[in-house]
Amino acid sequence: MREYKLVVLGSGGVGKSALTVQFVQSMFVDRYDPTIEDSYRKQVEVDGLQCMLEILDTAGTEQFTAMRDLYMKNGQGFILVFSIIASATFDELTEIHGQLLRTKDTRTVPIVLVGNKCDMANERNVSQERAKAQADKWNTPFYETSARTRINVDEVFHDLVRMINLQNPAKHDKSKKNTVKCVLL
């Protein structure tokens, strides 16, 4: 079974943990307990293939963000989460995204942009259009999710797995490398 290292990034209090726990356990965490680092494992079936997801729920609050570089190096796919009711959290993703690209040093990092707390649309501060525009700019899919009501939660993770599969097909890794070598020679 192939393993996927997914990393959930975003500012503090946007609901990274809630999203992750909702995905892993189908349970909503209603208390806020700043995460330092948590990892979860879950086996899912995506497109008929069994996958083992190792989800790293990271610290959003600044005191703990020093580890970010490390997460970024180790992760294969990234979920960038902001809260639609706090536009600052949306703006802060720009920096994270930049850091991600620098760390990965490639233009095609599997990333999903996620606007969480869409059940609180009456307090919305980030319009869908704005987020969509950003997602288009980054060339990533965009989802609005609700960890509370479990909207689009599975979709986000599954889509990320698909992106990793697409970018890095499981079985052809070696042959690809070989062909590249040949071309270089």
């Binding site: 943990s17 992750t20 726990v21 892993v24 356990q25 349970m27 909503f28 965490v29 209603d30 208390r31 806020y32 307990d33 700043p34 995460t35 948590d38 979860y40 729920d57 609050t61 005191q63 307090e123």
Partner: protein, 1033 residues
Amino acid sequence: MAGRGTTNSMAPKAKDDPVRQQLIRALFSDSSSNTGETMLTYIKIYEEEKTSKEMKTFGGSSKKGGSADRNKLLSKPRYICMTVKGNGKVRLHKVKKTSATSYHIGRTWHLDEIKSIENVDAKRWNVIINRPYAWVSDDAEIKNDFLMMLLKVLRSNLKRLPALINIDEPALANQFNLAREAVVTSSTSRNHRVAPVPGNNGAAIANSTGSFVQDFDHRLSIQTERMKRTVPPSSGSLGSGTTPGATATGGASSPRTGSKLMEDNEPLDEVALMNLEELLYDMELANNEDGVALETRLMNELASLETANVYSIIESDDRIKDVMAELDKGIEELDDMDNWLFLYRQELDSMGDDIRQIESQNRGLQVQTSNQASLLRELENLLISITIPDRIIETLKKETLERENGVRKLEDAAAEVQDVLLSKYDEDVAGMSAVRGRMELYNFHCSNFAGRLSDFLRTKCQAQADQYLNDRQRTLAKGYVVMFGYEPIEKYFITYRGLIVWLREMDPRRFADLQMLFVNNMNRLYRKEIKEFFSVLITNHVAKLEKPDDSEFGNVPHLGSLRARGDVLLCDELFGSTYHGGLIARGGTAIRESLSSPSDLTGRIPWRRRSTREIHDPNANGRFNNGTMYESSRRIDVAQEEKLAVDEAFSQALSIMTSLAAREQNYLSDLFTLTKMMSMRMFINDKPPFSMQELETVRKPTLDVKSSKRLAQLMGILFDGLSVELNNFAETGYKNESVQCVGMLISVERTQKEFAESDQAFLITMLTQLRAKLVGMFEKYVEEQFKFIEEARNKTKRKGVLPFMRIFPRFAQRMEALLEGNEDTEARQLITAAYDKLVRVMFESTEAVAKETVDFDDKEQGSHVVNIENMHHFYSELRQRKVTNLENYMKYAKGSYESHLATYVRGVVRRSLLKLLDFFDGVEGLVKAKTSEDVGFHLTYNKQALRKVISQYPASVVRKDLQQLYRKVEKHFSSEEEEGLLQVAWRGIQEEFIRQHERFSRLIRECYPDAGVQMEFSMQELLGIFSEIAKSH
């Protein structure tokens, strides 16, 4: 004659009469009068006011006094003017001369206001209008004229005349006519008075008689005509002499009174008729012509004449131009006014628009006002809602955390602040600087308080931990192995859980820090306590293996007593290979059990002491007063010098530790209110229940992954020593007595089951790890046993019951005892698998040893003996120990034993009766192939041959053989464990001999019926020999 006398004075008056002109001009001209009145006549009078009073007072005596007072009181000259209005109403005006030419109307009366008229004398007369007036005129004649006219007018206009007193009408009329005559004759200029009157018709002009009366009549007629314009003119209108005013009364009086007048008028009439005829003639109208047609024509003529007349009047009069001009002017002015009105209207319209606009603005203003009012209310409410009384802030700042009521107050205050801070506002409201400012202020206070709270709790936590850490009372000793727990600390901190809930909401970071702080401090205590607990337990109360334990294959007995039996070599060899320690004692079951623990004296077997915690003696704790309320359940039930089996000690320790940890986790969960999300307010209103007793219960998992992970992490910190200690214990126990890993494993599994459905993630993980470790130990243990068995094949003695066979039943019994009541554990499967593996290799080894045995003279029989002995031992021991679950192996062993025994017996018998057996086997073969009769004819099996074989086995030989055989068999079954087997085997041999004897006899009877041959030794002899042998041993 007075009238004559006044003619002179009257003449000039009539001539130009400036007073009249002035009056008209001033009061009754077209331009000056706004009443539309025309003056008919006037009279100058002097009003005698006093006199009138006197007159009133004195009544009839006025005649004398009146003249006397006259001169004295003639003070007020006035003019009484009689006027006619456009509608024919006649009025009297009293006019005062104010200057040379101007007049002022003092009073105006309608005719019907006149109550009475009284003629006093020639010049004086009284009139009562509203009040009595006494008037004196200059001239009696004029006075009479005026009265006459007044009467006339009164008659023609009023239905009821006023009271007339002392008025002689006929006399008046006479006087009047006389006057008129005089006027007609004497005065020609009378026309002047008439001249301004526009009413002159042709007849009047033609008449040229400008008499005053005529004039007056004429004017009246005009007036009447004006009044009755719609009435067709009567023929009488042509008659100028006929007064139109001659109504019933007027008409009645004038013919009566005016006969003279009629006479005067006759010539005038004649002239008029002549003129009429001429006129008619001129107009070529015959007399006989139709009167009606004539009238029509006349009327037409009259109308055209009137028209022409009007035109001529209009054209002739210069004033018309003025009038026209004035009219034009008037029209212009009207136009102007119209324009003005138009403008005014526009102005009004625009004003109307303005008003509407103003009204709408007004409405707008009203709306705005009400909006502002409601905004004000909202703002006030908002202010109320966001305003926290200072005392609350003060409470947060100053209130002590030391005392319980202070904590309650703080909870309330904190809830208050939290309510405000956590309430959701619209973005607009939240954006208001007042709100923002407030929020910042409260946040500041909150964070201050959060700091104060966490500092306080930190200090307290550390202080309490230190205090307990140095508590000398809490030391363990031999026979006093207990986990004290920290209920006082727990009780102390639970007071603050409300504020901790608050802290969680308001400052998650401090909350997390507090959690860490708490568990770190508690960890210091628990680590020390757990370490001490285990060290005292292991040092003092775990039975060291200075006792025999032959339930292990490796622990081959090495006690001196056993060495004598030939185990010495093996023991020495095994020490190095399987055991590290040299403490291992060997011995029989009885010795082992007596040494395993002193408690055995009470009849308790270590591995049966499962529920000691529940049944322990409560008095045992009486000695210790510094214990906690939970001491009894947290104490290892052990006497001072008592030692427990490893698994028992482990089981008790594990039970104590897990329940303590579970309790502690429940406490953490309650202290930090982890299972529920709640605000301070919710906490105050609906306090989650907490009781120390309830902490003991095992709870269902309610948390999400993250939170339970967090809790497990906290627990991991809190009990970081526990896992290590338990692992060490297990290691020690294993080293001490390997088989104990099974007992420990079972303990762990039982505990696991206890927490299987609970929220104790930490314990579940810890137990899983511990179990894995124990399973590993067990496997290692089984592996060692396995190796030992394998090795035993080569190293052990080759006769008697093999060591592993001897040990296994005890091993199995012990396993089963451990498993008792735990049939459903995984250990069961593990052990069953181990049985399978071990028994298999045991059987294999047994067979192999048996085959290669060198300890017997007869190798084959020796192998059978080994098998028989071992299988029998295995079977009988297991059966005797009532070890279930091994039936399959027992069955196999039994079968193996029986078959080996049968083979052995047969082999032994064959040795003794070899020739007989060979012969009769051959006979039997022939019988099967042919018939029994034919056997005697066979060369090899004829009668001679039979006799020869039989003769070789006389009873004496058989006896000797059997005695020899017994000695041999006795030597075979020499193993001390299986002493009974000799009898079994010997009995088998006996039966075999009997059976063979019977067989031989039968075959002789069947095949050689007539030979008369019999076996050399009879059955009786055989039985005798056997009983002889049995007796001798």
